[in-house]
Symmetry: C2
Subunit: 644 residues, 2 copies
């Protein structure tokens, strides 16, 4: 079933008190100002960004050479995009002034032909497009374009989008199938998403055509991608990556397994979904669903982390999901949200919105500290800080969030995810409205010509009750679809206080087809018990172990609660769970207490004959995975625990 769900305008969705409103408030109060300071080299004790300074240099308002990664511009872009979302949540004149000034700089840095890039401006823009594999020019262009659209949508100001359209026009002039143009594409997909978005915003077909072109020549032999010369001096390559790292190993329609650099992969697959949305080409859909199956059935951590190895920040082989050496980049989890959202608009199957839920409450969200000022790039499922600090094959795994990074793609990315969270809550279709995520919010939308207000209140993910009230002038018949989360076995539905069974369940959505009346109240109870989760035994690392979940949240054990040597702990499969509501850094949490054992073996010479262990019965405490590392630094943590 391919349906045509429509995304709602983010501005129409008003967050109400709850989990995500608090985090959007934090975005406005802390994250956006903190990141702005950091992009301006004003945060102490973190790697200097230089990102704003680079634009000042490119605009010739400052002498010097740009510093930082070759794609440093994209950090500025993603910050503007996140700040734009924060303006939709809460207006802020001061912030708008800052962005306007930044837009003035970007505009001033723009070349007569439209080109914008601080790095290649310094090197000479005749060198543009000379290292498409690793130069990240179109990637940076993409993020700037997305930011310009977001800022326009937030404020109605179009200067930035005008600037970026000039740039987009240059790209359209210089790339494409025609003779004399470059037949090439970027090593890091992103421009495609931006061009589709710009095309939607401007109703300009050319951008979409070029995005399709970039996608369609990818992995074919007929292109200049790997003929462009790497500018080693500018952007030295430590590693020679394989074609699949760049997702250049095969044409998109022939892709069957998720592979390569996980962020590149997610952005590409999201772009493929954008293309399919327009073309409805069966071979694209086949590729998309094959890729999705590959990801969901064989190549994803329980937290939503993707990319099992550091080298190439990439996917490896089926069922290879080591808990202590995965990459699980925050950006990759965010990229998966982008892809999953596009899939759920194409096919109302709960597995896509389930995936978004998995990420926004686990793998992506763990990328930011509760105070908003520290970030994980890599999100391990298990760490022993002493070992990780020493081992070279774990030197990508930090036991604490950092204030910033030399390569700081993740912090601004998680900021724009938080700011745009409302987008993933609802969609509308001809037959009605669909609720994908349980996030306290209010939305007004036209349903079959009638303006309907939906008001959802919930303490999700801490509490199982979701209440949705409908407000409409005249009675109207339409389908209210509510996602039944994949984790939920038992749920109940009341309408206006009465248990209601007159719904159907289709592909994970509860479809309530009825004549709705003003002030109808739907109460969905999604039974939230602590539960043990096992893994397919083809994953080597999790045999004999379980993870702990409650609702959509994956839990973990931390040393601060359970002592050192977490590997000695065993959970009792017969255990009940006790909940302990608590506050961590002014944010609510629900810990789980349950029965377990500690199996301590101390030998003088490391190894000794096996004997049945005296198991010390103890109570274990698990905390939501996304909150780990917030109460103490450099502690042992683990998600998967032995079970007996």
């Amino acid at each position: 079933m391919n349906v045509s769900n429509k995304e709602l305008n983010l501005q129409k969705i008003k967050l109400l008190d709850g989990f995500w409103k608090m985090r959007n408030q934090l975005l406005c109060d802390v994250i956006i100002p903190y990141q702005w300071d950091t992009l301006n080299n004003r945060t102490e004790g973190v790697p200097l960004s230089h990102a704003v300074e680079n634009f000042r240099i490119a605009a010739k308002e400052l002498e010097g050479e740009p510093e930082g990664t070759i794609f440093q511009d994209s950090d500025v872009a993603k910050w503007i995009e996140a700040a734009s979302y924060s303006l939709m949540f809460q207006s802020n004149e001061k912030l708008e002034n800052i962005i306007d000034e930044l837009v003035r700089l970007i505009k001033k840095s723009q070349h007569a032909n439209g080109y914008v890039n601080t790095f290649f401006t310094a090197k000479g823009i005749d060198l543009r497009w000379s290292d498409l594999e690793m130069g990240h020019e179109l990637y940076c262009a993409g993020h700037l374009i997305e930011a310009s659209v977001a800022y326009y949508q937030a404020t109605g100001k179009h200067t930035f989008m005008d600037v970026m359209m000039l740039y987009a026009n240059l790209i359209v002039e210089e790339f494409g199938p025609e003779e004399g143009k470059l037949h090439a594409y970027d090593g890091h997909p992103e421009i495609e998403l931006a061009l589709y978005r710009l095309s939607d915003a401007t109703n300009n077909q050319r951008y979409k055509d070029l995005a399709d072109y970039f996608m369609n020549i990818r992995g074919s032999l007929d292109h200049d991608f790997d003929k462009t010369t790497a500018i080693e001096e500018m952007n030295p390559r430590v590693n020679n990556y394989e074609a699949d790292y760049f997702l250049s190993h095969t044409p998109i329609r022939e892709m069957t397994e998720v592979t390569g650099h996980a962020v590149r992969a997610m952005y590409l697959y999201a772009g493929m979904a954008d293309q399919y949305r327009r073309t409805k080409e069966p071979s694209l859909w086949k590729a998309l669903t094959s890729l999705w199956d590959s990801l969901e059935h064989k190549r994803i951590y329980i937290t939503g982390g993707i990319g099992s190895q550091s080298h190439g920040e990439r996917f490896t082989v089926d069922y290879d999901l080591p808990p202590n050496r995965g990459y699980n980049e925050t950006c990759a989890s965010i990229g998966l949200v982008f892809w999953a959202w596009r899939m759920s608009l194409l096919d109302l199957d709960s597995r896509y919105a389930d995936m978004i839920e998995k990420e926004i409450f686990n793998g992506a969200l763990s990328g930011i500290s509760l105070d908003g000022k520290a970030y994980f790039y890599v999100n391990p499922l298990e760490i022993n800080p002493k070992v990780a600090a020493f081992r070279q094959d774990m030197n990508h795994v930090l036991p604490h969030r950092a204030g910033w990074f030399d390569c700081a793609c993740c912090p601004t990315n998680i900021a724009r995810l938080i700011g745009s969270i409302g987008k993933y809550v609802y969609s509308s279709s001809d037959s009605g409205v669909c609720v994908h995520q349980y996030i306290s919010s209010e939305v007004e939308m036209p349903i079959q010509g009638e303006s309907v207000v939906l008001r959802m209140t919930t303490e999700y993910p801490w509490n199982e009750d979701v209440q949705i009230s409908l407000h409409l002038k005249d009675d109207a018949r339409f389908i209210l679809s509510l996602r039944k989360p994949g984790w939920c076995d038992a749920y109940s539905l009341q309408i206006n206080g009465s248990v209601n069974d007159s719904y159907s369940l289709e592909k994970g959505y509860i479809l309530i087809d009825r004549i709705w009346t003003d002030k109808d109240v739907v109460l969905l109870k999604l039974e939230m018990r602590g539960r043990f989760i096992q893994s397919d035994s083809r994953v080597q690392d999790y045999c004999g172990k379980v993870a702990l979940m409650r609702g959509p949240l994956v839990y973990c054990l931390e040393e601060i609660d359970n002592g050192q040597h977490l590997q000695e702990l065993v959970v009792d499969s017969k255990s009940d769970f006790m909940l302990d509501e608590t506050m961590v850094q002014s944010m609510k949490s629900v810990h789980m207490l349950f029965d377990g054992y500690r199996e301590t073996i101390r030998t003088s010479r490391l190894y000794e004959p096996f004997k049945e262990q005296e198991k010390e019965k103890i109570q274990l405490r698990a905390i939501p995975y996304f909150q780990w590392g917030n109460r103490a630094k450099d502690q042992e943590m683990r998600v998967w625990v032995r079970i007996i």
Copy 2:
């Protein structure tokens, strides 16, 4: 208790039918010829060695530049040493002629000042000692010196030793505490062992003094070691190693934890034991025993593998012993034999000879295939070939033995260990004779003025009976000490057919103090049951798992016997073991059969709620670890298995 055990002359020990005689026969028939062919670039399908060719070039009998590693000479040296031992086992005129011709080449390559090194000869020997960190000149010198002593001892021919004494004299002239000499030492210990050995063989004190000097300035600030400039062009460094990689981080007397490059470490500690043997300096003994404790209690795999990570081929931190990513270089296990043997001569504590046993039947021996023509550099305790082939953090782990390596230190090293195995069987002291290893062999030695022949016959490690007959003219009272292996809980002793309890047990040795008569027969039964072994739970990887052993042998499971997905297997702690005697490549083996389960979980989406598993009851087959990978290539293998 520091005793003064004496090593016996290897030539006095005659191997009798059994495990090690077969392997010495293989050394003569296959290993030495195969390696000679390979050192001469005559083996197809393996990396070219160039090692002999390099000497031809240095001797100006061939044009060209030396190829291979900067320490390629040492492969030739270790081959000569191994070949010399094979000549002690079995004379071979053709082989002697080959070595004599090789010695002629080496002599011809020698410079007027005594210097020998094919690599620096090509570059110009004024550059000698210019990269002591990584240049490996003294390391190569050391191996050549050891080879020359071995060849002299095997044949009585002294040309080679004369050549190497000239070189040793140059080293004595150019290094040392005196003004004008280099105050420096080699990045890779080995010269020290060689100089002690040469000193013993020639009774020349100067060599020992220089060895002491090299050892004593190590890790102090007062030396030129890190002032010598690396010749990057000659020997590019991929990595900047820390001082502890070179064992240069601290003076030897202050060392407490085994650290750094595992082979370097073992050779250094062995040298420290050589020095202590002469000086009896308490601070050295304290360091040696601290280091030993650190190794044995915290930093060694159950197989005897050492060096837990590939980067730096080195020790990491306490209890970090991942089964699938360790380095466990064959050479490091061999080096540990060298160290352990020296320790057991200094202190009659069975833990040292136990360690030798662990290595010669497990960690070191796994380095060579049963046919003698294929080698492991890295000895993993667990491998999934598909995962290991893909993952960059496992690219050092091969799922099959290779015919040779670009860096081929291990093949010739295991050859010289096999050839010198007899050396580790006995030692003599004033009070009698000590049997350290149970290896069928005969030895004649003077005990308290009387010539005694000991004849030991055993099918160890396959069978638990060890019979030792004594042959002497007149009755004599002395102590026969027999190691009680650390793995053995139950043993019995018969003398001339009667159970005998009149012995004492001291530090793991059974001391039989009596008046011995000609044709006395001692029968030692070391009860060999299959047993499960557990690890100290501070090792993260082995909690809830056991290894399997029988006698001194560590066992493992292979895919060929037990199917794919070995991680799904669980052993039943109540299981008995059945033995299955079999032959693999004309070599005997004893497999173990025991009860276990396969816990198969197949999920469509990787993760699902935990349920008590239906366990499929199955019979598992384990094989000796050292024999893995001999029946089929690229199979799953694992040592540690879950237990219930």
